[in-house]
Symmetry: C2
Subunit: 457 residues, 2 copies
């Protein structure tokens, strides 16, 4: 694969110049005044794909921001890779904390500094350049499609419908995404799993108005006390969630996979120190990494009732509220879990109170099978470029669009992220090491070669 | 006691005119701009006592509002009654809800309308007039002292120290107070017990900052969940408070007294309907009236943690807070209970969290013994004037100054209240029925006669 290194070496300055032009466009999707910048970013991406060697590239309008689609079909019989990236970025406030202007990218200390340097212009653009290299050197071993969206930072509200409307056009064997991070500069990893989410709000009503806690206290159920009791009962003494059926669909992770996950460097003492914790907490029988990676959980994200100001006010509140999020693992259906929660919460309400549960939000989990050809190809590509296989990691978080791709298009994604924790995405002074940028291009190109081979087996 | 009725009949218009002059003074203690009105109210009270027949009457300045003290010593060997009342009133907002201006008292539908009509100018002034009657008719059978304070509605911050400084001057056999209500116009009652109060705030800290509930949820203790669990554990399955030692000093009420209390009319169905409750709640083995009257309780007055705005935010909060009030019964020491709570709460905190407990406020409970001469005298006085004995009631609320009197002066109080629930004290359209005003004067005068006799026994 020497040609890859050579090509990068010969074009590294131009790659950066081209990325910098993209970084200079302030394509902030959450701010209406940047609507024209979204269009500019789309046009820049369209032209970049054409310049790189795409047969065609188009801008698709949606009810929100545009999506750029481009492709190169080398041979209908060959496998197809669909690349997903996003061209929108987060706002830059507080702008005074930036050491250099967010939309005037520059190189310092071996890093690219600017909004979007990592998330996801820097990481996304690696794919354009890996594609270009394979086209120009005549080594592209598969068909390639690109879909670059403009609303990832606001929750991809139109992407599901857009995919639904263009199913045939988007047909592919795998979706390739670089929008996550790796464990450390020399420890490559691939996010294998994402958790799903069910998020509900509960309201417990006691008396029909706030009461004097002296006159009525002890004789009327206090909804704050009752809510506390109900929430407390949602975990048993092993810190397992007690909602009937909650674990029914949990995909048990094999001993082998748990062993592979355990390879990821993790220092419990450092973890506790960073959070100032004497002890960690969680479901009995699982490690900290497993608790967030492969196990579903239930957390109160907010709770409120009664008087919350300064000093003492003696009130027996009429109502108490809580927001509850449940992180789900692959195969758990968030709609089913939400229904189970509602049923359980309503059923366990004592006759002293009324309860109301509102389903606020949800999304499915995701997991990539380690046996899929794309994973094997990735293993080989990282071995080529990093000298070691990527560690499969499970993120406790959720990227709902990834599960949407699976549901709508029926295609698995491979989350080859090259970012680092220190890249400060979403924060002031976002950056992306040059090393990771070039290493990413190299690894992606190697992936294509191995992927085509794996698909032939 | 025919002379009492006759005297009232002959002077009823003048009594009202004099009360109205007091009601016209806007002596709102919580508003600084009414400071001069507090002085005017004090002067009016001083003059009223002198006019009624006091040997002397003085205005005592305090760091806050003045206290009026007056007395008539008929015979050093005779028993002494110390009357307590307050001349300050609550604010009048929202003033547009008043049907007549709050400080322009008027009679409509057989009631006096205006701020302070009941609380406590109307009820307090009955004592001035009962005293006047006994002096002018030459029937005063005991010594009488008056202390009229100006800060009751703001928690009597200076009254304890003032009593401490004038212990000797305040020596008496009983303190007589009309600042509470009776069950119904034809069902006289005396508040026999008041609950004490211990009020604390708890803070539970998990991780040192708010965390992403996906990345960390399930692996780090959530302080909101832990706080819920801790609060839930404060009651057992019989709804008894689980703090060790909590019930140690509770004065068990005798079967006889519980039977007397049960005489008070109480309709559970109406109570539930008024509060829109399917079921009441409380400590096993006690009635609703007993639960607030003779049993200590624990209530969450406020709880808050994490995200409490609209919609879904996935946060694992760093901190969770609650305000907890415990209503205590006579003989329970609020300082001891506060200490027990702090100790218990700190002790039960699991190693995943840190807890901090702050003692915000407290006050002792109070109970008047049914065997004291003043109670026997009251029984006879109400028999004379209402044709029935007053029902002893226990209020779930607290009037801290009453327990302060007992602690500082060593004197029991008799809470002969003539107000009604419908008097709308603290609210717009405060009122006081003329019937209650005159019946109060009559009963107080009768009380003096019987009290002197009882003290001779």
């Amino acid at each position: 694969m020497e040609f890859i290194k050579t090509y990068i070496e010969q074009n590294k300055e131009r790659f950066l110049d081209e990325l910098f032009a993209l970084l200079r466009i302030p394509s902030i999707s959450s701010l209406a005044e940047h609507k024209p910048d979204m269009q500019r970013a789309a046009e820049y991406w369209k032209q970049s794909l054409l310049d790189a060697g795409a047969d065609k590239a188009e801008i698709y309008q949606t009810p929100g921001n545009p999506v750029v689609f481009g492709q190169k079909i080398v041979n209908q019989a060959w496998p197809t890779v669909l690349v997903y990236a996003h061209m929108d970025v987060m706002p830059v406030d507080p702008v005074n904390l930036w050491n250099s202007p967010p939309f005037e990218p520059e190189i310092r200390d071996g890093k690219i500094w600017g909004r979007g340097a990592d998330d996801d212009k820097g990481q996304g653009f690696m794919h354009a350049k890996a594609f270009e290299m394979l086209v120009r050197t005549g080594k592209l071993p598969c068909n390639v499609k690109f879909m670059i969206e403009g609303e990832e930072e606001i929750g991809s509200p139109n992407m599901g419908a857009w995919c639904e409307a263009h199913k045939e056009m988007l047909e592919a064997d795998v979706i390739l995404v670089s929008d996550t991070s790796m464990i450390a500069p020399d420890i490559p990893s691939i996010t294998q799993g994402l958790r799903g989410l069910a998020y509900l709000e509960v309201e417990v009503t006691g008396p029909n108005r706030d009461l004097h806690s002296g006159i009525f206290g002890g004789a009327v159920a206090n909804p704050a006390n009752i809510l506390a009791k109900m929430i407390a009962s949602l975990h048993d003494e092993k810190n397992r969630v007690t909602i009937p059926g909650f674990y029914d669909d949990v995909m048990e992770v094999s001993h082998t996979e748990r062993q592979a996950m355990a390879q990821a460097p993790f220092n419990l003492e450092q973890y506790k120190k960073a959070l100032d914790l004497k002890e960690v907490w969680g479901e009995e029988g699982f490690t900290t990494t497993e608790r967030t990676g492969i196990r579903p959980t239930l957390d109160v994200c907010g709770i409120w009732s009664g008087y919350t100001g300064e000093g003492a006010k003696t009130v027996l509140p009429s109502k108490a509220f809580a927001k509850v999020s449940m992180r789900l693992v692959p195969n758990q259906d968030y709609k089913k879990i939400s229904r189970q929660f509602i049923e359980h919460f309503e059923k366990m309400a004592p006759p002293f109170v009324k309860v109301k549960v509102t389903d606020l939000h949800g999304g499915q989990g995701y997991v990539a099978p380690l046996e899929m050809p794309a994973w094997r190809a990735a293993d080989k590509a990282y071995l080529d470029t990093f000298g070691k296989k990527p560690i499969p990691t499970r993120s406790g978080g959720s990227i709902p669009i990834i599960s949407t791709f699976e549901q709508v298009l029926g295609i698995k994604s491979l989350l080859m992220g090259f970012g680092l924790e220190s890249d400060a995405i979403h924060s002031p002074n976002e950056n992306y090491p040059l090393h990771n940028f070039y290493k990413g291009i190299e690894t992606i190109a190697a992936f294509y070669i191995h992927f085509a081979e794996e698909m032939k087996k």
